[in-house]
């Protein structure tokens, strides 16, 4: 099956390569959800001398306004407007003068446009606005059927953009006619908006179902395909190599180090030393020449630098991207799909060998569907194992919590190793550390004392 690329590799992946050629597709969503940007990006990605795109506006948005705003996007090349991409306002001809009396005028106009411009892509924005001009559903059914006929007869791939929502009913006529339906959603969560994209229908083609996060940037849509939990663990050859954290006392508790490709959960209350252990782990990696990645949500780059400097570490050297690549995401902007995708991208592109997520609880808060959080973590752990990345996740347990039982049971059973930190508040603050579990390795399960000094963590 031939495909029309969306101009967005991730969205193409969701659509199994793009929209089927010669299909009719609906792009639906509330105002401001990104529909027009999606189809404009697609038009500019495909249009050329042999593949002209025809963009038809209706009575919903004046053409000059649309084109004016469009120029703000980097994917737009205004030199191609009028040659590769033709803009035309249907409202000026067929619609304004009484579509209800002579609906055939619209078909005739589109026929003339096809024979004049010979477009391979036709976008009608807003398609729904046309329906609003007709007196009844029957007239609309006839018109949309005829329109599908003329578009289908010529080799075009069409996009009907509309402010449709599922609340409008079981689905208007055009939903039944369309070969594909893409729904864009915009959800307000607290002070931020989250955007999701969903393929509701793609006739004759496989696609990745579910909600896929996206955001709109100057270069168009950035789509983050939803994680699909692997049905089986990937096939890979584990490396039996021991890695050090740089904390000698801790490494000695697990046969001189942690196995490469394993995931370690460090849990404990605030102030117990979780982040410090994680930083030691990354610093040791950087000192051993391994690219590492720190993903955190609380400590911004300036705060991280200050922490390292206070320990006497060379923060300038350590925080070079080739040593410790720092991905700081403000808790306000959290969206798990985008974060995990970004982690995967950096792991792949930079050959990351050690990963720290500080803290996993923050990541859980960002999950659109909390019940699927475990799927994300499972996918992440499997990815790390398959790519021989040693991962360390920190998790903050509630205050007053002194020792196990574990709180994040789902993450803990997926983790290869579990380290539990404790704090006893008496006259003196006493920190403890205990290894609860190591997979594929013996460990010293006794409780040890953990100290945080001017040069970092020591375990006795």
């Amino acid at each position: 099956m031939e495909r029309v690329s969306t101009g967005n590799p991730e969205l193409d992946l969701i659509l199994s390569g793009g929209f089927p050629r010669n299909s009719i597709n609906i792009v639906m969503g509330v105002p401001g959800s990104g529909k027009t940007i999606l189809v404009e990006q697609l038009a500019f990605a495909n249009a050329g001398p042999d593949c002209r795109a025809l963009y038809l506006t209706t009575l919903s948005e004046p053409l000059p306004k649309l084109v004016s705003y469009l120029q703000n996007y980097e994917f737009v090349d205004i030199n191609r407007i009028g040659t590769d991409i033709i803009y035309h306002s249907l409202g000026e001809h067929s619609l304004r003068d009484g579509l209800s009396n002579e609906p055939q005028r619209l078909i005739d106009e589109i026929f003339q446009l096809i024979t004049k411009h010979r477009p391979r892509i036709i976008i009608i924005d807003s398609f729904k606005a046309i329906a609003d001009l007709l007196p009844d559903a029957q007239a609309w059914r006839r018109l949309s059927f005829d329109l599908a006929g003329v578009l289908g007869a010529y080799g075009t791939t069409s996009f009907w953009v509309g402010e449709y929502t599922w609340e409008t009913g079981a689905g208007p006529t055009e939903f039944a006619i369309a070969d594909g339906i893409i729904e864009l959603e915009r959800i307000q969560r607290g002070s931020r908006d989250e955007r999701y994209l969903r393929v509701a229908k793609l006739r004759g083609s496989d696609f990745l179902d579910g909600n896929h996060a996206f955001r709109i940037a100057a270069d168009g849509l950035h789509v983050f395909p939803r994680f699909v939990t692997p049905s089986a663990a990937p096939d890979y050859q584990p490396i039996r190599e021991r890695l050090q954290t740089g904390i000698a006392g801790l490494d000695a508790m697990v046969q001189e180090g942690w196995l490469r490709g394993t995931t370690t959960l460090i849990q404990g209350p605030s102030g117990a030393g979780k982040s410090m252990i994680a930083l030691h782990f990354l610093r040791q990696g950087a000192m051993d020449g391994e690219p590492t990645l720190l993903v955190n949500f609380q400590e911004n780059p300036a705060q991280l630098r200050r922490t390292m400097d206070s320990l006497g570490w060379d923060s300038d050297h350590l925080l070079r991207p080739e040593n410790i690549d720092h991905l700081y995401i403000s808790p306000v902007e959290l969206q798990i799909d985008t974060i995990v995708q970004e982690m995967f991208r950096r792991i792949s592109e930079r050959g990351i060998k050690r990963l720290v997520v500080d803290a996993i609880g923050d990541l859980r808060k960002s999950a659109y569907d909390p019940s699927r959080f475990d799927d994300y973590i499972y996918a992440l752990i499997q990815h790390c194992a398959a790519t021989n990345v040693a991962a360390m996740f920190t998790f903050e347990t509630p205050r007053g919590y002194l020792d196990h039982p574990l709180v994040m049971t789902d993450v803990s059973y997926m983790s290869d190793n579990i380290v539990s930190l404790t704090m006893e508040l008496g006259d003196d603050l006493h920190r403890g550390i205990r290894i609860l579990k190591t997979r594929g390795s013996a460990h010293d399960g006794r409780r040890r004392t953990l100290r945080i000094g001017s040069q970092g963590v020591t375990v006795e």
Binding site: N22, F111, G149, A153, Y154, G155, T156
Partner: protein
Amino acid sequence: MSTPLEDERALILVVERDVHVRALERYFLEEAGYKVEFAEDGPHALARVREIGPRILISEILVPGLDGLSVCRAIKADPATSHIIVLIFSILTAEERAIEAGADGFLRKPLDDTLLVSCVEKLLQQHRTQKGE
């Protein structure tokens, strides 16, 4: 003896039920210089063939009464009409069946104007070469 100039004005009989495809075929073929007539079903197509003697017949397979492949076989089986070039232009992926039925060419829908016109030109050229014109 026909000349290329005459071929440009060659008469084409289009057997097609879909009003939109018909309209597009008429537009692009006439624009390319051909004369176009229509039939909407198989029996009507055979009657028109005998009546107007087209140089080319372009037919969809899915037409009422007698399908496009049967129309093609009937034309090719009759010495009086076997010289007519038959192009099957269908929504179906049926190139092999079209060739087996004696068709001179096959095109899959939807309509691509460049492809359609170039295919017609190519078939006319082949026909001229075969006849030694």
